[in-house]
């Protein structure tokens, strides 16, 4: 077998391991899938009527806000998946099994690749469930099948980027508790962007942050694709952010993984 086939085989072994672990201890998927659904219901049914009116003027209400909210919720799903990943990585690291893998003649890339792919898959399932529930609640996207595909592609790319970042956080943390805390702020980012209200409505400092943070262009692009709002340069900025985060996080994670155990 060639090096590449070995790497693929090891990666699939690691991926199967992650899936099995997830089924045995489904806290990760419950957070990834559950948190955005709870927020969706909360925002639509508790705040939706008022926010919808504030957003689209008198006469508008809950249904309008649901449409506005879904793209932000999709990104929140990514963020909540990102908050779970560092914990699973840190558990492997502190339990010594990662060191065992490092002393074995396996494709080293497979260890982190297994974590990344499993968590991306988990987030994608979470987003599919979220869209399903949103549709049941009356979400009315205008997207064509191609736009749906592009949306899925962009969200997958964003998930991939942020999960690599989360893996690096899990490696840099010296304990499972630290790992869990490090990723917490990520869940707040969609709130400090255009996920729940338009950035124009925010006070100046926050607005500046909201417009330039990576989640906003991703949310705006998804909103444009699903609901036909203007995308402009946001799509390009979103993809650029994803690529930059992926490369930087991947390099950081790789460096941390090869670092000596302390």
């Amino acid at each position: 077998m060639t090096t590449t086939t070995f790497a693929l085989r090891d990666t699939s072994t690691m991926l199967r391991r992650e899936f099995r672990r997830t089924l045995r201890y489904p806290v990760g998927p419950s957070v990834t899938v559950g948190l955005p659904i709870v927020f969706l219901l909360l925002f639509v049914y508790v705040l939706g009527d008022t926010l919808g009116a504030g957003l689209a003027g008198p006469g508008a209400g809950r249904d309008d806000y649901l449409d506005y909210l879904v793209p932000g919720m999709l990104v929140l799903t990514i963020a909540s998946a990102t908050s779970v990943t560092p914990v699973t990585v840190a558990i492997d690291r502190t339990a010594g099994i990662m060191d065992r893998f490092r002393t074995m003649a396996i494709a080293r890339s497979s260890v982190l690749a297994g974590h990344v792919l499993a968590n991306v898959a988990q987030a994608m399932v979470g987003m599919a469930v979220l869209v399903g529930i949103a549709l049941l609640l009356g979400f009315s996207p205008t997207a064509t099948p191609v736009e749906w595909l592009v949306t899925a592609g962009l969200l997958a790319l964003a998930t991939f980027a942020l999960i690599w970042f989360a893996v690096a956080l899990g490696l840099v943390a010296d304990s499972v508790e630290t790992a869990s805390n490090l990723a917490m702020p990520l869940v707040l980012l969609p709130f400090l962007g255009s996920g729940f209200v338009p950035t124009e409505s925010l006070p100046t400092g926050l607005r500046w942050f909201a417009e330039y943070q990576p989640f906003t262009p991703i949310i705006e692009t998804v909103r444009g694709l699903l609901l036909g709002t203007a995308i402009g340069w946001q799509g390009v900025v979103a993809v650029a952010w994803c690529l930059v985060i992926t490369v930087a996080s991947w390099r950081w994670a790789r460096h941390l993984f090869h670092r000596d155990p302390t």
């Binding site: 099995r20 010594g96 490092r102 002393t103 155990p261």
Partner: protein
């Protein structure tokens, strides 16, 4: 300090020169400003058990981490199974198995699944993998627990599973970092039997331990690591010959009697260890009738009120004292359960001097 005799007594050694399973020369490693290893030299003959002995913080784990490709050396050369760890780490990884200090098993998996994972990572095909898994479950007495999650395992079972996982790939050289630390005596004996079996199969075993008794039971050769250098290297018997035969522990009914006794030995200029909590004093003595008679005579002469007396074989503390003039600062260095028995020199008889 180094013993230069070739291991000609080893049955697996042919008269010609056998390439060593492990060859370390001038190994250095520091962490920040702290020099952890300062020129370590080691040679391990294939098919033998080598024990690296030393107290906590001596650098044992760092040696294992470097030999197993986890940590880079800062100087010197290290060859394991004929390959350089710096330039051919993958070839080294192909030949070794590592059981670290903390069991590296997947807690959410059953014992069988953990072994299966190792079989998959060693690219064994399904049939070969299953055969290997059941063979190892059998060998490590884990058949009944095979389908239970590893979280339900006892400490001894976890270590056994850990070792079994290490053996899935049939490694030539096995590293065991403190394999029995924290185990109860029965689990410890089971581990010892497992290690003995490995060597019977021709595997080379490199283990670290804080227990002289463990090295005694298992190792063909021993090296003592202290402050990053090897201070002694040889067979366990050679090592013990350099240690003036153990000690006798005297227990007193109260601090007052302990003080009196400690004072007479201190006047003597002899090395004694003292533990105020257990009201005991450790005095030199090899346990021979003559030395005991002399000790008892002395107790009578000085009218010391000794409540209890016990004779102890040389342990790591004694070895250290003899080799370095210092005791270990480790509380659990005696597998027989003698804890809190630091040694000190006569001028500081109240507290054992820290190694680090």
């Amino acid at each position: 300090m180094r013993d230069l005799r070739a291991a000609t007594t080893d049955p697996t050694t042919t008269p010609g020169r056998v390439a060593p399973a492990i060859e370390v020369t001038g190994l250095r490693r520091s962490y920040g400003d702290l020099l952890v290893l300062d020129g370590v030299d080691l040679t391990v003959t294939p098919g033998t058990v080598f024990a690296l002995l030393g107290p906590n913080g001596a650098g044992k784990t760092t040696v294992v981490n470097i030999l197993t490709t986890l940590v880079d050396a800062h100087g010197g050369t290290v060859r394991v199974a004929g390959h350089d760890v710096a330039t051919e780490p993958d070839l080294v990884r192909r030949s070794i198995g590592v059981t670290g200090q903390f069991s590296a098993i997947d807690d959410l998996f059953t014992g069988a699944e953990n072994l299966r994972l190792m079989a998959d990572l060693h690219h064994l095909d399904r049939l070969e993998g299953s055969r290997r898994v059941s063979e190892l479950l059998e060998r490590f007495d884990l058949v009944d627990a095979a389908d239970r999650p590893a979280t339900t395992y006892s400490g001894g079972m976890r270590r056994r599973l850990d070792l079994a996982m290490t053996l899935v790939g049939d490694p030539q050289v096995i590293f065991l970092d403190e394999p029995t630390t924290g185990l109860d005596p029965r689990s410890r004996r089971t581990m010892w039997e497992a290690v003995t079996e490995l060597v019977d199969d021709g595997t080379t075993v490199f283990l670290t331990t804080q227990y002289l008794e463990e090295a005694d039971r298992l190792a063909d050769r021993v090296a003592v690591l202290d402050r990053g250098t090897i201070v002694a290297d040889g067979t366990v018997d050679e090592l013990k010959r350099r240690v003036p035969g153990g000690h006798v522990r005297l227990q007193f009914p109260s601090t007052v009697q302990l003080d009196t006794a400690a004072a007479t030995w201190r006047d003597d200029g002899r090395v004694v260890g003292r533990d105020d909590r257990s009201l005991t004093l450790q005095v030199p003595g090899d346990g021979s009738p003559d030395s005991l008679r002399a000790l008892l005579d002395r107790i009578d002469r000085d009218r010391l009120d000794v409540e209890h007396l016990s004779v102890h074989r040389p342990d790591l503390d004694d070895v250290f004292l003899a080799l370095t003039g210092r005791g270990t600062d480790h509380d659990a260095a005696d597998p027989e359960g003698a804890t809190g028995t630091g040694r000190a020199d006569p001028d500081h008889a109240t507290a054992p001097e820290a190694v680090r």
